[in-house]
Symmetry: C2
Subunit: 291 residues, 2 copies
């Protein structure tokens, strides 16, 4: 039984609490919380492990979620587990920001709790907790690889909207770490759009040269990604003008980046879009992880 | 036996000669020649018809070839027939230019015979014969739909390199005629590159405003295509700088064009590239043709 082994493994992590574990597609969908040093608060994440993880470590896909989401949205609405189970890969669903009474917030949906943008904030009042870059690329990986049967040598990363931005920027910033990157409707060029300029100014200050490290289009122009990339964008997405897919598509093809950019007729920005194409994305990552 | 019925059907066409017919994948790969009014010379084309065409008309895919090719190259090297047979669709392979002793030519490979560029030339000495636009969009369709069991209501179009340019520009110029368009390594923005400026100047004269109707990127910016588009480009293609895939990719995504643009790592400009992904392309068209 998987949970017994997991329980023993989790002993290695400090301060980890099991919120829930549910059997799903022959594996286990778990939700765990832990004290985060990076974020200075308790953080919660979801982790799906397929049946294979009972006997051996499995590859893992990072799924970064979008604005207003928690660890839970994709976990319950994307329909990823079926395909992860078929492929024998795990999926981890981090939260999108620090949270809690002691954490700075803003009434707007695009700055503050639920809108971490996967950056390390340097400006008050955000710098104290909003270090989602460090959390997702350093702290949570250490916890994950210490406590669960997942393989550090076989990771891929994906995300939706703000999480697509996160997946692309993180993927390009750690050459050799991730085998593949994919995104649904990523915020593709945040230094040039509303879903970027406002939170970046808040978190990073007015010096735009500090924003460039968090812009997928700029990173693509500068260095690209050392593996395959898959992007899906809905053609009926109401946020297309701020997502700016054309800028990332141009940069990908100008760099001759291994990958595909797909414009899907009639689809919008919702999880109905994500769930329609999640099979393709999990299969894409599985091919890279088992290459 | 298919060829008997084909023979009867061909009676409807004038001046048509059967060069060869070979059984292939349960259907027939034919090569036919006829007197072309558009080109003022004899023209040869290949036509694969699947087994289903023995009893009923089938959908048809136009395959436009690249520089230096005849009707034969894709027919013998692309490996399309297997997938067309599985999908129950025909494929027609037109030649790439007028030919013969009485037809103007140039020692260069990128102007003259084998380099028709799917335009109607207006300049001497080319205007007399180089009317490949009319040939592919008007004369050959009339011959085809008159003489063979293929459905005018279900057509798609694809091509390679110069033929990808042709497929895209023709597809966008006849809304409602083609269900889908695909291209391998298309000359994506010919008014801005060597594989375009030189032949366009020769065929169309110095007024660049007349070139715009034959530029896929400009047409995409202006109107787009009313169906799905699939583009494959090899990342190791030695002609990338003149193919300019990034311009078409940007234009597609800026228009929110239904479709996918794929950059395939390690592949070059040859038929080894085409044959690797031809299954995807035929399947893509078949899905649109049987929608």
């Amino acid at each position: 039984m998987a949970s017994v082994e997991f329980e023993a493994e989790r002993g290695k992590g400090k301060d980890m609490k099991t919120i829930s574990e549910n059997r799903a597609y022959g594996g286990v969908q778990g939700v765990y919380s832990h004290t985060s040093e990076a974020c200075g608060c308790d953080m919660t994440f979801g982790l799906f492990l397929p049946e294979e993880a009972e006997t051996q470590p499995v590859p893992v896909i990072w799924y970064l979620s979008g604005l207003t989401c928690t660890h839970e949205n994709a976990m319950v609405k994307a329909g990823a587990q079926k395909w992860a189970a078929e492929a024998g890969v795990g999926i981890v669903f981090p939260d999108t920001s620090p949270r809690g009474a002691g954490v700075a917030d803003d009434p707007a949906y695009d700055v503050g709790q639920g809108a971490g943008f996967y950056v390390n904030a340097t400006e008050a009042p955000w710098a104290a907790n909003f270090r989602m870059w460090d959390y997702v690329t350093d702290e949570l990986p250490r916890i994950l690889f210490n406590a669960f049967p997942v393989e550090e040598a076989r990771q891929s990363i994906m995300g939706h909207s703000m999480g697509g931005h996160g997946a692309l920027t993180i993927g390009m910033s750690f050459p050799g770490r991730y085998r593949s990157v994919s995104a649904f409707a990523p915020i593709a060029h945040p230094t040039a759009c509303d879903w970027g300029r406002k939170p970046f100014a808040a978190y990073l200050g007015p010096d735009e040269s500090k924003w460039a490290a968090y812009d997928a289009t700029l990173l693509m122009r500068k260095r690209g990604f050392d593996g395959p990339i898959l992007i899906d964008q809905g053609a009926a997405d109401p946020y297309l003008d701020t997502l700016m897919p054309e800028k990332l598509a141009e940069a990908m093809m100008a760099r001759r980046q291994n990958g595909a950019f797909r414009m899907q007729k009639g689809y919008d920005h919702s999880y109905f879009f994500v769930s329609t194409f999640i099979e393709d994305h999990i299969g894409f990552h599985a091919a890279a992880l088992y290459d």
